[in-house]
């Protein structure tokens, strides 16, 4: 069984509220292990006055299908219960949750690997772009070579 829940939203979310519901669903599906990853907006200590906001742009339509494909790929590689991917777009402030993935499986190794895989693919294959705003102006976050390199672990 694989129940894939993909959410792309402007609204803020509480990772704990999502995890409570996800854990109940995972338990009912017979899972013994749940792994959850949450990404948070980090402040920029170097910049004058820090990060005033982060704005995330995405590609409506493609975003949902890209996340769905990544989740389906994970479900073919590992024996998974439910899978959740949530990613925000729009304006965020430091310390806010940006996104979350949750995976469930009978055993912990599959749940850990699947969550790690989802994050690596989401980083480089889902159409999101981050822009950071400080007192000095706005800058698009550059992709890291290490993010692209991370995908080679899964080939």
């Amino acid at each position: 069984m694989s129940l894939i829940d993909i959410r792309v939203q402007d609204a803020a979310f509480d990772p704990g509220v999502l995890l409570s519901a996800f854990t109940t669903l995972a338990a009912q599906a017979g899972a013994g292990a749940v792994v959850c990853f949450t990404g948070l907006v980090r402040d920029l200590p170097g910049a004058n006055g820090g990060l005033s906001k982060m704005v995330i742009e995405h590609y409506p339509g493609m975003t949902e299908s890209a996340l769905q494909s990544i989740a389906e790929e994970a479900a073919t590689r590992w024996s998974l219960g439910p899978v959740l991917i949530l990613h925000r777009y729009g304006a965020l402030t430091p310390e806010e949750p940006i996104m979350m993935v949750a995976t469930a499986s009978a055993h912990r190794a599959d749940a850990f690997l699947a969550a790690d895989f989802l994050m690596d693919y989401l980083k480089s294959r889902a159409p999101f772009w981050k822009k950071e705003f400080t007192a000095e102006g706005a800058t698009w976050v550059a992709a890291k070579d290490s993010d692209e390199d991370a995908l080679s672990r899964w080939r």
Binding site: E57, Y59, A66, R125, F128, W129
Partner: protein
Amino acid sequence: MDVLYFAWVRERIGLPKERVESSAATVMDLVHELSAREDRYALAFSDLTALRVAVDQQLSDFDAPLAGVREIAFFPPMTGG
């Protein structure tokens, strides 16, 4: 076809989306056509290694054929997560 731009590509070209009538055979042909139009396009497309392309909402390559394609999007490498 519809041509979409995201992030700094959108900002350099100055619009998020436009309708383009073109007989370009591949993505690369379309890039050359647009670059020849105006400087803002030439500037946005000056370093293709810094760009990614999606054809009908699937990540693709610059040598992908455009026959039957309805939507093409140009953007920098993704930075989600």
